[in-house]
């Protein structure tokens, strides 16, 4: 079953475009990445799914139910963590989390138990006032309020800002654990390494439209190799740029690096004539693949 399914989901803010014809289908148990630069339409899509904004046209279902008709019912099983978290400053952390839990039909004592577990794991003092928390700690409150009801679908909109690397690691571990228990995750980010670490599939969004949906493996494997070569002597780089399939060539003294798509033997043949000090052939990280999509589009 598809947990999230959107059909030609479109949102205009007045005359300016938010998203256009977004078609997504996210399967049960999947960790789905959603990448694109700021302003590409990630948040608009997510906010539409959550019923915070209303679509201009198109439709979407979550758990097979229409988002405009069954909003509250659907949200019973969704956990949401936005990039910027704001809570009631006058409340204590524990009261805020209990309040958050009180919206769900689930057994409140089970929720309280989960709150305590998570707080301990994330190292958060429940007795403090929201107002007295640092940004990172507020983020932890956000994580807990998003997970305390053990949601079937977790929606994260650029969630890692403000978390130190250790906490980020714990947070990712938490997500993997929830995923193992069966939760589906929609993870939006413009930091591609995050997506690469966590996600199974990824949608790339640009100017409000989905330009590619791909398995993470395919995206990084089959497309490009990244070459980094250090020569003994200066060489004429022209022959590399002439080679078909080379892009993003950077040269600096005796060093040269480029992305290559095609038969690797061609490159090997060419560089075999030179004295080489060092040779590195890598999988390009998502960022480079991603830049590639954006650049080709520009041309």
């Amino acid at each position: 079953m598809n947990i999230i399914e959107t059909k030609k989901l479109t949102k205009y803010y007045g005359k300016s475009l938010g998203i256009i014809d977004v078609d997504l289908s996210i399967k049960e148990g999947e960790i789905f990445g959603f990448i694109g630069p700021n302003g590409a339409g990630k948040s608009t899509t997510i906010r539409t799914l959550l019923g915070l904004i209303h679509p201009s046209s198109g439709s979407a279902t979550i758990f097979g139910k229409d988002i405009t008709k069954f909003g509250p019912e659907i949200k019973e099983d969704i956990g949401y963590l936005p990039s910027e978290v704001f809570y009631y400053d006058d409340m204590k952390v524990i009261d805020l989390l209990k309040y958050s839990g009180s919206f769900y039909k689930k057994d409140q004592s089970a929720i309280l138990k989960k709150i305590k577990e998570l707080a301990e794991y994330l190292n958060l003092d429940l007795k403090k006032k929201i107002d007295d928390l640092s940004y990172g700690n507020k983020k932890k409150v956000g994580i807990i309020q998003g997970l305390l009801h053990e949601p079937k679908l977790i929606i994260l909109d650029e969630p890692t800002g403000g978390l130190d690397p250790l906490m980020q690691q714990r947070f990712f571990d938490l997500l993997r654990e929830e995923n193992k228990k069966g939760a589906t995750i929609l993870f939006s980010s413009h930091i591609l390494i995050e997506v690469q670490k966590l996600c199974d599939r990824v949608a790339i969004i640009k100017d409000g439209a989905i330009i590619k949906i791909e398995d993470i493996k395919n995206l990084t494997k089959d497309t490009h190799k990244k070459f980094k070569i250090e020569f003994l002597n200066r060489v004429d780089y022209q022959q590399f740029t002439d080679l078909k399939g080379v892009s993003g060539l950077i040269s600096d003294g005796n060093n040269v690096s480029f992305l290559y798509k095609g038969n690797i033997n061609e490159v090997i043949k060419m560089i075999s004539g030179f004295s080489i000090v060092n040779l590195l052939v890598e999988e390009p990280d998502l960022e480079e693949v991603f830049m590639h999509y954006y650049q080709t589009d520009k041309k």
Binding site: Y13, S43, R47, L50, G51, L52, I53, H54, G71, P72, E73, I74, K75, E76, I78, Y80, P82, E84, V85, F86, Y87, Y88, D89, D90, Y99, S100, S102, F103, Y104, K105, Q145
Partner: protein, 266 residues
């Protein structure tokens, strides 16, 4: 229900302050009643000496001023002004507080419909106002009773006290409507003070120039005390106007809020 309790708790302190202020004001003022009426003739002369414009602006009727009702009415001009501000603050706060605190994302991504959010908050606001009125009413009633044991008409006095609640309901509804229409209200008081004072001043000017039609657009003039004292009841057409206005404002607020896009915080 959880939204109701959360809202109720959040306004606990400020409501307590409102109650204490209103009660202190009314008790202290009513305690002066005997002194004021000891020498009726002198005071009446003094009052008559005031220009008519001032008297009508302050709602002083020479005919009723020396009854406890008339005396109370004089103070009530200011009480109703304060009460209107309290009610409108609550009304504006229903939507704008979640907006300005940027907590609206948190609230509306929970399994609760927007209509139920408004309902919970609105009921909390009405309850807080009811409690305020209960204390204010009791304090007024008891003090007035003690100060004017003879000829005290409880029913009439009750009618007068309830006017505060009627005015507050109007401003609560108006506040709610404005908070749905106006975006990014940082503080409720910024909207409620100017609005309440505008209505108040319009009413006052209307009374000074003697334009009777002003009554229809100024809630402070809906429930004229002289009318109540003379007829023993409210002017029914204003009750109807209020009912229609409150109902329409609330319906519009629900419809607009449900349709509204909650944009990302920037």
């Amino acid at each position: 229900m959880n939204v109701f309790f959360r809202e109720f708790k959040a306004y606990r302190k400020s409501t307590l302050i409102w109650i204490l202020s209103l009660c202190t004001l009314v008790v202290v003022f009513l305690l002066m009643y005997p002194a004021f009426t000891k020498d009726v003739d002198v005071t009446r002369e003094l009052m008559a000496g005031l220009p008519l414009a001032v008297r009508s602006a302050l709602d002083i009727s020479l005919q009723n001023f020396f009854t406890i009702y008339g005396f109370f009415a004089y103070l009530f001009t200011f009480i109703s002004l304060a009460g209107a501000v309290q009610a409108m603050n609550l009304g504006v706060g229903i939507v704008s507080k979640e907006d300005s605190g940027k907590t609206v994302d948190f609230l509306l991504t929970k399994p609760i419909s927007r209509a139920n959010v408004i309902t919970g908050k609105l009921l909390a606001a009405v309850s807080l106002l009811l409690i305020t009125n209960l204390f204010f009413g009791l304090a007024s009633f008891i003090t007035a009773r003690l100060m004017s044991a003879a000829n005290f008409d409880s029913r009439l006095f009750l009618l007068i006290i309830v006017v505060l609640f009627l005015i507050q309901m109007l401003f609560l509804a108006l506040g709610l409507l404005m908070s749905v229409i106006i975006h990014k209200i940082k503080l409720p008081i910024v909207v409620s003070l100017p609005t309440v004072f505008s209505f108040f001043i319009v009413g006052m000017l209307g009374a000074i120039i003697g334009n009777d039609n002003v009554k229809y657009i100024c809630p402070f003039k809906f429930y004229d005390f002289n009318y109540i004292i003379n007829h023993g009841y409210y002017d029914a057409k204003f009750l109807i106007i209020e009912a229609i206005f409150v109902l329409l404002s609330i319906i519009f607020s629900y419809v607009l809020y449900i349709k509204k896009d909650i944009r990302a915080v920037s």
